[in-house]
Structures are given as C-alpha cells and as structure tokens.
C-alpha cells in the first residue's frame, strides 16, 4: 500500500527520540515585530484552544478566541474527571518516555502515527510542570510531592489528578492564562459565538464566519491562520458522556471546505457509565476510569440472578475481567472492558432492572484501605465496622464527588451497594486529518485536541486526552505554526469585504434561512434521537457489513425528512438555542453517514472499531495489518460523496504485534 500523494505527514527524518528536538531547533521563526501583525483565529476554548491561545498571545501573535458557551471556562474539558498522564516516573516504577509512547501505540491498537505519539510522550512532563507553575492544585502526598494513580492499559502509575475534577482544574489553569492575555489586550474573546464556516482564499485558510448567538448577526473574521479546537463529535449518538452542546459543526465545515476527515469510525465507548434510566434521558454520566483502580467489576455466575448483590456469595460472582485478562485485570483498556461488559449482558448475566448493567464494587478495597489506616493509626484489633469506616473515609477522599454524583442520579448509595455501570459513547479518536505540524490538508487551517485524529489510533488510553489537548496547545502549535507563518509575514490583513468572505457569509445565511422556513412538524431533538439510535445500534460497540449498509440508507432517508419536516421555532435574529441545535444536527446527519462508510470500508477489527465478522475464537478483535495499517482520510466531494485517501502507517520503533492484555 502506498500513501496517497495528497497526504504528506511531514514527520521529520531521524531517530524517533531526536525528531522533535531537532525540529524545534531548526523550524523557521517569526521575529517579534512581525508577530504583532500576524493574526490567529482559534475556534474553541477547551484545553487545546485555551492553552494555544494563551501561548500564542504570550509569544506576541494577535489572537481571537471563539466559543459557544457564555464563558471560555465552560468548555467541555471542564468535565474531565480522572486525570492526566505524564511520563515523570515519580513513582519509580519504571516509567519512561518510551514506555508512554509504547503504551499509547499499543493501546491504540497500532493505528496511530509513531512520530506524533513519541512527541506527545516527550512533552508530557512539561505539561505537569507548566500546570503546577500556574497554581493547578493537583493531589499531593503528605511529603508535599505530587500524587499519582493508575489508569487502564498500563502497568505504571503515571496519572496526575485533582480528586475527580482534573479537567476542571487544568482548564481553569489554561483559562486563567487565557484571561491574563485578554486583560492585556493580546487576545480578543468572542464568547457566545458559533463558527459556521471557514473562508479560503487562493487555496489558503484566511478566516471564518461566526454567528453572534445573542443577536443572531453573522460576522466575518480574518486570520493568517485558523485553529480548530472544537472538541469531539460523540453527540452524533445523541446519548453520550459529552456536554449537551458538544458538536461537530466547526470540524465539519472545515471538512467541507477541503480538510480531510481521518478515521471517522473510531469511537470510544467507555465501560463505566451510569446506565440509561429511561427515554427522557438527555445525556449519560461517566464514572471515571480511576474507579477501576479500587473497584472490582463482576456479574453473577448464574444468568438472570435476581438476588441483591450483597446476597450473592463470593464464589457465585464472576469477576470476568480478572478471569479473562489476568495480567491487567480490571485495568484493561476501555475498548476491551466495554466489549466484555456487553458480552456478559448479551449472554443474560446483566444486572439491574434493564439487565444492561454490571457491578462495580468497592467493598473489598474499602476493607483493605481500612486495615491500612487502622495500622497507621495504631488501632489494635479494630472491629469490622471500624475498618469499614476508616476505609470509607479513604475512598471518600479519592472519589467523593463521583460517589455523590452517582447517588444524586440513581438515588442509590455506592458506599453501601455496588455501582451499576454500563458502557456509553465517550470520545472520538477520529477527527480532522493533520500532519506533524497539526495542519489539515488546507494550508493555514490547523486542528488541535479532540478535533484532530492524531495520537490515539483506534482506541485512546484513559487520561491521555487531557495530555494531548495541552500538548497540542502549550507545546506543539507554538513551534509548528512558525513553519507556516514565517512565510506569511508579507501577507497584509485581508479586508473582510473580499468576495470570498461575502460569498461564505451569504451561504451561511442561506442555510439559516432554509432551516427557519421549513416550519415542519417535528422538533430538532426528534431527529437527533432517531439518528442516535441508528448509530448506536449499527455503528456502536459492534458493527457488521449488513447493518452498516442499512444504517447508511436509513441516515440518508432521515436527512431528507429533516430538511422537509424539521420545526425550528423563534427567529434567526435573536438568541435561539433551537436554531443552534438544528444546524448542529444537520451536520451530524452528514457525519453519521461518513462514519458508517468508514466502518464499512475497514474490514478488520481494531480498538474501538469492532466488526463482528473479524474476531478471534475468544471474541477478541482481529486486525488485518497487511491490508489496513493505514489512516483512512476522507475527502469531501460535495453532495454527500467522499473519496478515500490512505496514509500508510509505518512502525519503525515498535514491533507491530497482536495486542494482548492476558
């Protein structure tokens, strides 16, 4: 297989551990005076967008930041719970840059680009240093040093955390760095603005069209470069752990204007979420992977067992992850854990009213911690109750907010009864295709964070999205953007009455008018729910060719109905959340089709992409490296037609092997 001539990944030559340092010392620079006249637009204020904005503004570029929430601090990154990885080896447990690199490539089932992943591992330590310098209050030990916990898919403890609110603390750190630049006038902030198109001039990206969500007015903004940091598209499934507003629109508009879309079918289904409780459900809530440190997952050995969990004796419980994967046990990667849960439930061993749930049980570890505490406090012969009480306090300190959240949602107390959990859509590894510089196939148009496809292959390891978002924004783009902008110092700011801006704005306006004038009979949510059901049933945890073909037809039909029968209330020139949703769902209705096409094209199973036709006798994913060790990058040909381009993945440093966690 050869890489398409349209996809030059631009990975520097040289030894893997020299590539980035050499690149950094040879990349073109922009002098301070020129930086002041170079303008950069950043769509998104999550970890990727906020860190990029703060860093580029500190360097002297003129920056504009857009987000659709009322404040940049509310970007979806705020909700990340469990932690962020870094190869610091503070625990002296054998961690290294190489090991993080290796774990990430293997965790991604050998479907990521070596050069990018190694760089990610290299800068991971700097991220922690930077965040601590900003005052991010990570968890600490009594000696004052930083604390770590374990996450899935690794055998070292390299995850840094702030209780169950790591994303919040990291984002508030990046947000405060961003606000500092806003205060100094180096960044101009456009909150409650939604980017609705990119503007290309002479083959380069030169700006965006945005809608002021309060007045409904369309605005034109010029930039020498545009960075898309708009997050993931898990909400194509309607129900996911993403925030309600998370959407694909910014990335999709970029795609339609020439940016190839990489591996759209790679979706992460997270094993530990609170199960669906009814049709009214608007979103699903994650119970952080960090809980798998201390919780054991089980189902009854007897199918259809209706006894209370406390009444099921130890020997009648099936700790199926520990049974199937003794080496990693409860800490297998997410794709493996999710499929194993589905397998047990499909076979009739599920628990709870819906039978679509398994137990996540903390009682054993609560007792273990209690015993350790009793020893520490010199309590001799403690009662069982005392041990439990001491252990509960330890668990509370580690996961208190998650336990509270669980109780609030389900009405059950997880300190007393095991949690019931089930897999849910969580993260999208696919996204805009980018090269080593994080540039898409459109010159001057970049993609950062979850919006790009780059580092996680077919499955992301826990605590690696926060790492990647901040790596992209703090440590990668500040260098790589110089490679492009150093050639742009002679480009004067282009006036936004340029015909390309006028045309792009007119197109956006027309689409809005169209949505407003259909005046059909069904709400936007109605269509979104239908789409979500098709995607979950046929392009979810398990996929097969027949189902995917059917899904494509169903989505086409649904899209037609949408454009005939959707009802968008209110006016275009006012604050109108229904109109915002309508535009996003319209884009999901196109993306969904591409995801199914991509899943159908990939005749193998890898990571989160499980094709039922391709599995081992034990039900593990079966890759086909000879034919599918490539990134699928889709070019939009208009009218919902796409052309596939392949970037061959070459493994020079890691031996490609069957992934085993046994």
């Amino acid at each position: 297989m050869a890489t398409s001539p349209k996809l030059d990944a631009k990975v520097p030559k040289g030894e893997i551990d020299q590539k980035w340092s050499k690149y950094r010392s040879t990349v073109h620079l922009v002098n301070p005076a020129n930086k002041r006249s170079l303008e950069v637009i950043i769509v998104g204020s999550g970890l990727a967008g906020a860190s990029a904005a703060a860093s580029l503004a500190e360097m002297g570029y003129k920056v504009k930041v857009f987000c659709f929430q009322d404040s940049p601090r509310r970007a979806h990154s705020i909700a990340a719970q469990g932690g962020i990885n870094a190869a610091k080896n503070y625990q002296n447990d054998g961690d290294s840059v190489y090991r993080l690199f290796y774990d990430t490539i293997k965790g991604g089932d050998y479907r990521a680009r070596e050069g990018n992943v190694h760089r990610l591992a290299e800068v991971s330590g700097n991220i922690i240093d930077q965040c601590v310098a900003q005052g991010v209050p990570f968890a600490r030990e009594y000696g004052g040093v930083l604390s770590n916990r374990s996450f899935g898919g690794t055998q070292v403890q390299r995850t840094f955390y702030a209780a169950g609110q790591t994303g919040q603390q990291l984002l508030l750190g990046a947000y405060s760095a961003l606000q500092r630049q806003v205060g100094m006038g180096a960044v101009k902030l456009y909150a409650r603005h939604e980017m609705l198109d990119v503007v290309n001039i002479d083959g380069k990206c030169r700006g965006i069209i945005a809608r002021d969500l309060i007045t409904g007015k369309l605005e034109r903004h010029f930039g020498h470069a545009v960075l898309i940091a708009s997050g993931g598209y898990g909400n194509v499934f309607y129900l996911s752990t993403n925030a309600m507003g998370s959407n694909v629109t910014a990335a999709w508009k970029a795609h339609k204007k020439g940016a190839f879309f990489g591996n759209p079918c790679y979706t992460q289904i997270h094993p530990t979420c609170i199960p669906v409780s009814g049709d009214h459900q608007s979103k699903l809530t994650l119970m952080s992977e960090s809980l798998r440190n201390d919780g054991r997952i089980w189902v009854p050995k007897k199918a259809g067992d209706t006894r209370k969990p406390s009444e099921i004796p130890e020997e009648e419980r099936d700790y199926y992850l520990e049974r199937r994967y003794p080496a990693f046990g409860n800490l297998v990667p997410r794709d493996v854990a999710s499929r194993a849960a589905k397998e047990r439930c499909d076979a009739g061993f599920g628990v709870g009213a819906s039978k679509l749930a398994v137990y996540l049980d903390f009682s054993a570890n609560m007792m273990r911690y209690g015993q350790i505490e009793a020893n520490k406090q010199n309590i001799h012969n403690p009662t069982k109750e005392k041990i439990r009480e001491l252990g509960m306090a330890v668990v509370k300190e580690k996961y208190g907010n998650l336990f509270d959240m669980y109780k609030q949602i389900t009405g059950e107390d997880p300190y007393e009864i095991p949690m019931r959990i089930y897999p849910a859509v969580h993260y999208t590894m696919g996204g805009l295709w980018v090269d080593y510089n994080l540039m898409t196939t459109v010159p001057g148009l970049y993609a950062l964070g979850e919006a790009n496809f780059s580092d996680h292959g077919a499955n992301r390891l826990g605590a690696s999205a926060l790492m990647q978002g901040l790596a992209d924004g703090y440590f990668v783009i500040p260098y790589t953007i110089g490679d492009y902008l150093s050639e742009e110092i002679r480009t004067k700011a282009i006036a936004t009455d340029h015909e390309a801006f006028v045309k792009a704005e007119a197109e956006v306006q027309e689409r809005i008018n169209k949505l407003m004038t259909i005046k059909g009979t069904k709400s936007v949510d109605h269509f979104h729910k239908q789409l979500g059901k098709i995607m979950w049933d046929k392009c979810g945890m398990a996929r097969n060719a027949a189902g995917l073909k059917q899904a494509i037809e169903e989505i086409k039909k649904l899209r037609e109905d949408f454009w005939k029968d959707v009802r968008v209330t209110g006016e275009a020139n006012e604050f109108n959340p229904e109109l915002e949703k309508a535009g996003r769902v319209a884009d999901f209705l196109e993306l969904g089709e591409l995801m199914c096409m991509d899943a159908l094209n990939r005749n193998e199973s890898c990571g989160g992409h499980f094709r039922e036709e391709y599995q081992t006798e034990e039900g593990e994913a079966k890759r086909d490296d000879d034919n599918f060790a490539y990134v699928a990058a889709w070019e939009n040909k208009g009218n919902n037609a796409w052309e596939l381009h392949k970037e061959e993945l070459i493994f020079e440093n890691i031996k490609i092997a069957a992934r085993s966690y046994k």
Binding site: S51, S55, E58, Q69, D70, S71, R73, R74, I78, A79, K88, I128, D129, Q130, V132, A133, Q134, G135, P137, F138, A139, R140, G143, G144, V145, A162, Q168, L172, Y175, S176, A177, Q179, V182, G183, L189, A191, I214, A243, M244, G245, S277, G278, D279, H280, S282, K283, T285, M405, Q408, G411, P478, S523, D525, R567, T569, G570, E574, F575, N576, E578
Partner: protein, 254 residues
C-alpha cells in the same frame, strides 16, 4: 417514554431580550418521572411547546453534571433549587411532589443582565479573572513540578477553593448582589499556594477593583452565599480575602 405520573404547574420567567419587559408565564407539564433531572423536565416542556408551535423557554446548560457552571435557575426563591450542594442540572424531580407549583426565574443582579428568559450574561466574572485571577507565568520552561513541595493541607484547601464553578448562585442569592464568595475563592486558592505569593497584593487589589467596577454590591456577611453555593465554597475564603485586601492596601499606601 418512561412516563412518570407527576403533573406540575410551572411559572416561568419569559423575557424576549435584555431590553424587553419580562413576566411570569404559567405552563402545565404532565407525565414527569421522578428520575428526570430538572432540566430534563424542561426538555419535556420545551418539546411540548414546540409541538404546539409556541416559543420554547431559553435556558443555559451544557455539561448536565454539575461542573461547567452554565445552568442557572432560580427555583422557588432559591438558586439551583431546594437541595443543598447541587446545581440545577443535578436536581432531580424526586425532590418535588405531584401537583406542585414551581416558580422559575433567572439569576437577578445588576451585574448579570438577562439575555433571554432564564439565560443571563455572566461575563463580568470573566473580566474579574482577567484582572488578576492568575499566576503570571508564560508557557515554557517551568521547573520540575516536584521542586515545589506543598503541604497537603494547604494543597487540599487550595483545591477546595478552586472547586468554584463560576455559576453565580452566590451573587443571585445575595440581597446586595455581591460577588465576594466567587472572587475570594480565586484569591484564596492562589494565596494558599507558594506559586501565588509574588503577586498576591497586586492580585487582590486588582480583582476587588474590577469587582466593584462591574456593579457587584458590597458584602454585609449575611452568609446566604455559602448556604446556596453548590460547591460548598466556604465563608472562610471571604475572611481570608479581607485580610489579604487590608494587608495589600496598607502596603500600597506606603
């Protein structure tokens, strides 16, 4: 639908935009399940209004798990409703009874103008942070993280202050419309950490200055904010900020 059997009367504030005159409107919702969240109950109501061809109610929300700080409903006279320690999105209908009448209004404060219906403009908070809620350290060569050792209790206290979600319930509940709890949470977080020491005087003066400019009221220590804060931000932060402010003020006059 997993229909429940609660029927409710809602009186909800409707206001077309910042300058329009608003009023409470009355709606009936039926078939609400106790497992729904308060916002899911609003989803049901809005779906019903759309079907009837009426204007749905605009409200802010995003994460729906109590962390983004976007949701902001004043329910029966209390920000985020009757349950302590939760945001509007985490409030469940099991906290209400069949037949209840529930009054829902937006945050009300001079510093938070209404955008539409229940959505308000809280950008004043962003400007207060921009005035000094940071450590001035550029991206780049920060020293190894474990070179800064921090006493665990201080780290925990700083974390507890940093847990503020910027929702504005403290302002909405305060009869003076004061933002002291919000501002003091950020000042405290950074004052408790070694990284925040160098700028601590400039920070508190600048943030308090901005807070006053934004039109937030003065604090008369009624303590309502602490009671209504969904994240348990404590009044001790206000005491700490007052000490910091006094200290900084004395110094700056020298």
């Amino acid at each position: 639908m997993s229909h429940g059997n609660m029927n409710l009367t809602l009186k909800v504030w409707k206001q077309k935009n910042k300058d329009a005159k608003g009023a409470l409107e009355t709606y009936q919702v039926k078939g609400i399940s106790p497992d729904m969240s308060f916002l899911e109950m609003f989803d049901v109501l809005n779906e019903q209004l759309i079907t009837e061809g009426k204007d749905p109610i605009a409200f802010d929300h995003d994460c729906r798990e109590g962390i983004c700080g976007m949701c902001s409903m004043f329910i029966n006279g209390r920000p985020h409703g009757p349950v302590k320690g939760v945001t509007t999105c985490q409030l469940h209908m099991r906290s209400f009874k069949d037949g209840d009448t529930i009054v829902v209004e937006p945050w009300r404060s001079t510093a938070f103008p209404i955008v539409k219906d229940l959505a308000v403009d809280r950008s004043a908070f962003d400007r207060v942070i921009a005035a000094g809620g940071f450590v001035s350290v550029n991206t780049g060569n920060a020293k190894d993280a474990n070179n800064i050792l921090i006493n665990k209790d201080d780290a925990d206290d700083a974390f507890n202050a940093a847990a503020c979600i910027g929702c504005g319930a403290c302002v909405a509940t305060c009869k003076n419309g004061s933002a002291m709890l919000f501002v003091s949470a950020k000042v405290s977080q950074l004052a408790l950490l070694p990284q925040g020491q160098i700028e601590k005087e400039a920070r508190v003066l600048s943030m308090v200055g901005q807070m006053d400019d934004e039109g937030f009221g003065a604090c008369s220590v009624t303590g309502a904010c602490e009671i209504e804060c969904p994240k348990g931000i404590s009044l001790e932060n206000i005491a700490r900020m007052n000490r910091e402010f006094l200290g900084a003020n004395i110094k700056s006059k020298h």
